[in-house]
Homo-oligomer: 303 residues x 2
DNA sequence: TCCATTCGTGCATATCGTGCACGAATGACG
DNA sequence: CGTCATTCGTGCACGATATGCACGAATGGA
C-alpha cells in the first residue's frame, strides 16, 4: 500500500472521477484506474462502484475513507515534524569536548549562544573519555588534534599551539632557562598522556627540530590541573595556548623559549568540530559549528 | 513513501540493526539499508546515525518514530474496518424493487431476514423507476425480466409467469371466455406499459403462438392496482403469478385458458437479483441474495 | 441518434526494487 | 595488538512493477 495511492484514493473520493484526478495530477487516467484497482485488490474490498459517468463509494469505501483521511494528514505532520526538528536551530544539541577545553573555551560562550538560539537546549558532556558519536548520540564533538581521521566529518574551528611556561616566582629562584635543553636541569610538570611524560619537541625559526628529554616528580591530568601547578610555581609546563593566554597577558606565567615552537606530538594542531555526517545535517548542528568557529576565531585573532 | 518502508523503519528503530531486520523479514540487508536511505532522501532528514556496529536514531528520527508508530497501527485498522464492513453481514443494504413486487414478495420476508441478520440495516426503495445502481448507490436490485443485459451481474431468484384472470362474478355475467380470441369481445383491464396495452400473446401446449388484440376503457399502474380492479370484477387482466397465486387459491380470481401460457412480452421471464459487480462482493449482499433465492424458491415450489 | 467523455485493458517501455558480490569499518576476543 | 565475524554501503545485473499510449465499450447529454 503506497501513500501516493492513498492520496489518489482520497482525491478520487472527493472528485468522484478518475479522469479529473488524473488530469489534476498530470497522470494518465489508466494509471489512476489501476492504482485504485490495485488498492482494492490489496484490501480485498471494493471501494468504488463504477460506471463511465458515475463513480460512487461503497459502504466499505466510505469507512476506509473516514479512517484514512486523518491518517494522510498525520503522516504529513510526521514528516513536517521531523523536518522541522532538523531544519530549525532548535531541539537538543549534545556536545562533547575535553573537560579543560570545555570549561575554558566553551562554557564562557554559552550565554551568548543561548541568547542567539533560545530554542536550542544544550547538553554538554565535558569528558576526557573519547565518546563515540553514534553510540553516545553526540551531535557535535570538539576535538583537539592535528587532523581528524576516518569517516567523521571535521570542520576546523581554530589552530592551537603549545608553549612552555613557568611562573615568575619559579623563574626567580631557579637556574636560568634560556634554551630548551636547559629544561633537563629542572623538574618539569608533566601531563599524563604518553609522549608528554618523556620528551618535548622544539622547532626553531629555521625549522630545526630538537628533542628534549623531560622528567619530574609531578604528573598531572587534566590540562587544567597542570596549569594550576604551573601557577603555583611548581615548575615549567607544556601547555596549550588557549589555556594560558590570559595568564601570560596577566603576567602570572611567563613563556619560555619564545623563538621556538613547542609540542609533545605535532607542531600543527587545531581544534575541530566533529560530527557524524554531512548528509541532512540538522540546522542545530550547523549553527553551533558556525558559532564556535566565529567565536573561537575571534579569540585567536585577538592574541 | 511506502507503508512497507515505514514498517521497516519501525522495525529498525526497535532493533537498532539493519541486518537483524533484514533477516527477520527474509530480505537482503542491502534492501533494508536502501529502504531507509530512500526514506531519508524522501524526507530530507537523517533518521539514523550509523556505524557498522551501532545504529542510533537522530533526534529527527525520534520525532518521526513517535509520530509514525501509531499511524501504522491505524492504517491496519482502516483496512480491517473496510474489510469487516465488506466481509460481515452487517452495515446497511440498499435494496430496490418495483413497488408491487416489493410490497408483495419482499416486505413479508423482512421479519425473517431481520431475525437472521440483526446487524444488517435495510433500506428499501420500492419504486417503479428503474434506479441506477451506481448513481443511487444500490447494493441489490430485484428486477423482473427475461434476462439481465449489460455489465450488471444477475442471479436468478425464481421464474415468473403471467396469467389471464378474472373474478368469478365477472365471469358469471359475461360472455364465455373459452379461447384467448374470446377476449376481443371483452373490455380488458390493461397495464400501462407499452405492449400490455395493445396485445397479449398466447402459446398453446404445442408451442403455437397466438397474438390477441386487447382493448378496454381502463389502463392501470402499478400491477397491484390492476389486481384490485380484477378483484372488483371490472374485467379480465394479465397478471404475474406471484401477485395472484393466493387469489387463485382462494377462489377470488379464476385463471382463464389454463392450457395456454400468456404474456405481453416474453413467455419465459424471471425475478433476478441484480448487483453492480461480482468482484469483492460484500457479504451483506451475498446473504441477501441467498436468502431471497431460498425464500422465493420455497414459495414457487409450493404452487 | 450522435457525440464527447469516461473507465478498463493490452502492449511496450521506462523505472524501480532486490539479490549477489565485495570492500571498508567496527568491535569483541584471545 | 592482531584476528575475525559481523555490519553497513555500493556497483551491477536482472526481474518486477508502474506508466503512457492506443483503443474499445459504455454512459449520458443534447
Amino acid at each position: 500500500m503506497d501513500l501516493k495511492t492513498l492520496d489518489v484514493f482520497l482525491d478520487v473520493a472527493r472528485a468522484g472521477s478518475f479522469a479529473a484526478v488524473a488530469h489534476a495530477r498530470d497522470l494518465d487516467p489508466s494509471s489512476v484506474s489501476r492504482a485504485i484497482a490495485d488498492l482494492e485488490t490489496d484490501l480485498g474490498v471494493r471501494l468504488f462502484q463504477r460506471s463511465t459517468r458515475r463513480l460512487a463509494l461503497t459502504e466499505a469505501g466510505d469507512v476506509f475513507l473516514g479512517r484514512v483521511e486523518p491518517l494522510a494528514e498525520e503522516l504529513r505532520r510526521a514528516r513536517d515534524a521531523a523536518v522541522q526538528v532538523s531544519g530549525a536551530p532548535r531541539g537538543r544539541l549534545r556536545l562533547t569536548a575535553s573537560v579543560t577545553f570545555g570549561q575554558r573555551c566553551l562554557l564562557p560562550r554559552l550565554p551568548e549562544f543561548r541568547r542567539r538560539y533560545p530554542d536550542l537546549a544544550l547538553e554538554c558532556l565535558f569528558t576526557d573519555a573519547n565518546l563515540d558519536l553514534v553510540a553516545d548520540r553526540i551531535d557535535l564533538a570538539v576535538r583537539l588534534a592535528p587532523a581528524i581521521e576516518g569517516d567523521l566529518v571535521a570542520s576546523k574551528l581554530m589552530d592551537t599551539r603549545y608553549r612552555v611556561v613557568a611562573a615568575p616566582a619559579y623563574l626567580d629562584r631557579s637556574p636560568p632557562l634560556e634554551r630548551p635543553a636547559d629544561l633537563q636541569a629542572h623538574r618539569c610538570l608533566r601531563f599524563t598522556l604518553g609522549a608528554y611524560r618523556t620528551r618535548w619537541l622544539f622547532r626553531d625559526a629555521q625549522g630545526a627540530i630538537e628533542t628534549v628529554p623531560v622528567d619530574g616528580d609531578l604528573t598531572l591530568s587534566p590540562a587544567g590541573a597542570l596549569r594550576e601547578a604551573a601557577l603555583l610555581g611548581l615548575g615549567p609546563a607544556l601547555l596549550p595556548d588557549w589555556l594560558i593566554d590570559e595568564d601570560l597577558a596577566g603576567g602570572r606565567l611567563r613563556q619560555l623559549f619564545p623563538g621556538w615552537a613547542a609540542t609533545a606530538t605535532t607542531f600543527d594542531t587545531a581544534a575541530w568540530a566533529v560530527y557524524p555526517s554531512r548528509a541532512f545535517l540538522p540546522q542545530k548542528v550547523r549553527v553551533a559549528i558556525d558559532f564556535l568557529r566565529e567565536s573561537l576565531a575571534a579569540q585567536a585573532s585577538s592574541k
